[in-house]
Amino acid sequence: MPSIAKPPIRHPALPVNELGLAERDYEGAMSTLCAGCGHDAVTAAIVRALWEVAVPPHMVVKLSGIGCSAKTTAYFLRGAHGFNGVHGRMAPLATGVGAANSDLLLIGISGDGDSLSIGIGHLVHLIRRNLRMIYVIENNGVYGLTKGQLSASADVGSTSSKGTPGVIQPVDPMLLGLSLGATFLARGFSGDKAQLVPILKAATAHRGLALIDVISPCVSFNDHEGSTKSYRFTREHDVQVTTTDFVEPRPELLTAIGPVGITDLTLHDGTRVRARALPEGYDPGDRDAVGAYLREAHDRGEVATGILYVDPSRPTLHELLRVVPRPLAGLPYADLCPGAAELERFGES
């Protein structure tokens, strides 16, 4: 859905967030994706989520690799720096940005090709490092930009637009994440903004890596009968494992809500995320049970969505490496150079 370029003039009646910004202040350039592409809907959900949590746009960095999905970082948050790198290497670039400036909120948009084929090694290690970042995989089961080859997330039996079925086992980023000790795993559907927005908002409050797999159909190459990444298939097989309410860190509100049947996840900044478990007893804190559930759901042909797993306790990269929490890029040079006197002492003579 190519959006129409909008003038920057704001209507006085537009609702604004805590920063006094309208939702369109979180938008970006006009999309050049195919009309109906799932990725544009994800962009819209990101705009909404960031606007609602009122992140200062310039404190966000948008990162991506190459692909149709990667292009979308140009389509939101024009007030943020964006870095559209090379295919499959978003994670290392993000690691560097996060290392240099821990104050920034990193949002990476990747594709299933970008993350699960060429860049999977980097994704694996990014998960292990638990860098603070929101990492969205716009998962359409194909390489959109190179015109529809099946990707590593294509299910066995799911057909390409040319009719060839996938024969090789798919990679499920959620199961991959679980096995690596990911600290925040969620799956959404581009066709369900109401579910995706609170997931994204919860991700902004997570202090480690938030990996979000969004089924985002490619209308040009993978939305046909026989595809398991089409709008129709996803709608018909979507099982919402949890529904998410994002709760601002306001203690009085929290006490007002009863705990019965609800999992409250407290994130590091005191933000509470309420995940209402729909299948009886689904516990997004129980790694083994979540893994078993996801495998079974996949075998049943279901697409389990919602916040699937959260572990807010694990340390982040900065904590693991015992690095100061302040942005390294901002440290004054005088604090970094040991000086001439120290060098005098160096070396045997």
Binding site: G85, L93, A94, V97, A100, L328, A329, G339, F346
Partner: protein, 612 residues
């Protein structure tokens, strides 16, 4: 080979050689010889004599041949010597070849515990047999010590044979084993056994020996990788990412050690730099680029195979104009090649790393002191020109001990962070476009994330115009890449000037870079003794400064002396505008540090051929 007894006459016929000698120690790796070898080198250094130590070792943990070579030169020549005066032949596998290399009239110290086998016929060398293994077996009970201390026994013998001051070696042993007194005692005993045996059985010192000098005051012993790491600390680097690879690994080992000491936040004890051991070299350079983009001084260290993996991302950094510093400690390629051997064969791969029209700034340190200086300059240049800078050293510089002037620091140094706009500047200007306002050198101002919404821009490795917008328009595309070419050319005025040593009337020029310097300078002297007047020039940066071309034009013929098969430096010079008719090559690429003799021989042969 028949064991020649010590012949007084043979010794007397040779003029005594003071402070001009080469010692080669042939051992098997994993036997713990390096600390004994190091002891000898350091002792000579402490006697005030110019010395260099070169470790020629296999890509293996235990059991393959290793050599350690000490060159002593009162005249200050530190290149590897072709033929040793004294060989310590501890490796029976290589003994025949090792003995064959000894200078006529030289000596071979060998372990006479078992009789000599497989050694070549050399009537012109003196064999000095010491029953090293037997004496160790008698003196020491621990089996591991028996092996280890054999090295200390030969070190003791060499000390006596070469006239090294035993007080100095004693101090070095004391310093080394201060915290392990029992081991120290065993070392002292083994050392004494070797020393006494030599004194009792051979006339010590040998005609070629050392005598104290005062030529190393104000100098230190350091290897290039350690100096590089220290340079990164002084440059203010805060992000380092790497993937282990010989011979660059010790850069990060040293950086980690220095950072532990000098990069602690006084309040919290937390580190003020982040060192990421990445999953591969794509990740390490990617992390460096991300950090550089976000405003940190960031670097990685690698070698050939890693440089190959970095290509795509180096092209990204070049095209999107992001500072990054890469230390490539070159080893012998292609492919895995000879990982512990030295070469200068990454020049073209580095100069044009990545596909498309890509050209990088290169620095070529010639010794560890320059590794320190150029590390700092690399960050300045990378940020000034907003582009990757690759610093190319090699195994010889990176991993060997060199005697260099004490490293100095000027406390008034201020890092060149390049054109970076802050919030106030951007907001005052009202409008910001990443590539729009290039200066005379082709450098446009950048902004860092997190500064101001007005500073935001979109970095893309795809076609972009001066406003940083996506483009496929030929003119817009060309405008950007032509500016990049201008920027690269401008860097020629900023990289370190070549080091030129010229004499009036010399018509031949020797051109080299990096670790080729000492051998080429010594070759100039050898050539002079043969009646050939030659000048030399050591290149230190690419794009080449003007002075490089003036030197080439000022000589009837120049030889480019480099350590690769394909004349890569010569290619780079030709590509940069040098004329091909008067530019020859001396290519020494066997993987061992080069010697002056090889250089001067090759030059003489070619000059003779040109005359014919």
């Amino acid at each position: 080979m028949t064991a020649t007894p010590w012949a007084e006459e043979a010794a007397a016929t040779r003029a005594p050689q003071v402070n001009e000698l080469a010692l080669r120690i042939a051992t098997v790796n994993g036997t713990g010889s390096s600390s004994a070898n190091n002891l000898l080198m350091r002792a000579i250094f402490r006697m005030g004599i110019p010395v260099s130590g070169k470790n020629i070792f296999p890509s293996n943990i235990q059991g393959l041949p290793t050599w350690y070579e000490i060159r002593v030169s009162g005249a200050g020549h530190t290149a590897r010597a072709r033929n040793p005066d004294l060989l310590v032949a501890m490796n029976t596998q290589t003994r025949e070849r090792d003995v064959a290399a000894v200078r006529p009239g030289g000596c071979v110290l060998w372990d006479s515990t078992s009789p000599l086998e497989r050694a070549g016929e050399r009537g012109d060398v003196t064999l000095l047999g010491i029953p090293i293994a037997r004496m160790c077996a008698e003196e020491f009970h621990n089996p591991r010590e028996r092996i280890l201390l054999q090295n200390v026994v030969y070190a003791g013998a060499v000390t006596a044979l070469l006239g090294i001051d035993p007080a100095v070696t004693a101090t070095l042993i004391d310093e080394r084993y201060r915290r392990r007194p029992r081991l120290g005692e065993a070392n002292r005993r083994a050392f004494r056994i070797g020393e006494e045996y030599a004194r009792q059985h051979f006339p010590c010192p040998l005609p070629c020996h050392v005598e104290p000098m005062q030529a190393t005051g104000g100098s230190i012993i350091v290897d290039g990788n350690t100096a590089t790491a220290l340079g990164c600390i002084y440059a203010g680097a805060t992000v380092a990412a790497w993937y282990p690879i010989t011979p660059s690994t010790s850069v990060m080992d040293a950086f980690t050690a220095f950072a532990r000491r000098s990069r602690r936040d006084p309040m919290t004890g937390l580190s003020t730099c982040m060192i990421v051991q990445a999953e591969d070299e794509l990740a390490s350079i990617g992390t460096v680029i991300g950090a550089g983009w976000a405003g940190a001084r960031a670097f990685t260290a690698t070698s050939g195979p890693g440089l190959s993996l970095m290509q795509a991302l180096l092209g990204l950094a070049y095209y999107t104009e992001i500072p990054a510093v890469v230390f490539d400690v070159q080893r012998a390629g292609p492919s895995t090649g000879m990982p512990t051997r030295t070469q200068q064969a990454d020049l073209l791969a580095a100069a044009h790393a990545s596909h498309g029209d890509t050209a990088h700034i290169l620095l070529f340190p010639g010794d560890p002191a320059e590794c320190f200086d150029f590390a700092v300059r690399a960050f300045d240049l990378a940020e000034h020109f907003q582009t990757p800078v690759l610093v190319l050293s090699d195994t010889d510089i990176g991993m060997n001990d060199w005697v260099v002037p004490r490293l100095r620091w000027d406390d008034t140094y201020a890092p060149d962070r390049g054109r970076v706009l802050g919030a106030a500047e951007v907001e005052a200007a009202g409008e910001y476009h990443r590539y729009a306002d290039a200066d005379a050198d082709g450098v446009a101002a950048r902004t860092l994330p997190g500064v101001s919404p007005a500073a935001a821009y979109y970095t893309r490795g795809s076609g972009h115009n001066r406003l940083a917008g996506y483009t496929e328009d030929p003119d817009e595309y060309r405008e950007v890449v032509d500016r990049l070419a201008r920027k690269h050319a401008a860097a020629g005025g900023w990289v370190p000037e070549p080091v030129i040593e010229a004499r009036p009337g010399a018509s031949v020029g020797l051109v080299t870079l990096g670790s080729g310097g000492p051998a080429v300078r010594e070759a100039v002297e050898m050539l002079r003794a043969q009646g050939v007047a030659a000048d030399c020039m050591r290149l230190r940066g690419y794009p080449f400064p003007e002075a490089v071309f003036r030197f080439l034009e000022g000589h009837a013929f120049c030889f480019v002396v480099e350590q690769n098969r394909d004349a890569q430096l010569r290619t780079l010079l030709l590509e940069s505008g040098a004329g091909s008719e008067r530019l020859g090559s001396v290519l020494l690429y066997g993987g061992e540090p080069i010697t002056a003799g090889e250089v001067s021989d090759a030059v003489l042969v070619q000059l003779r051929r040109r005359e014919e």
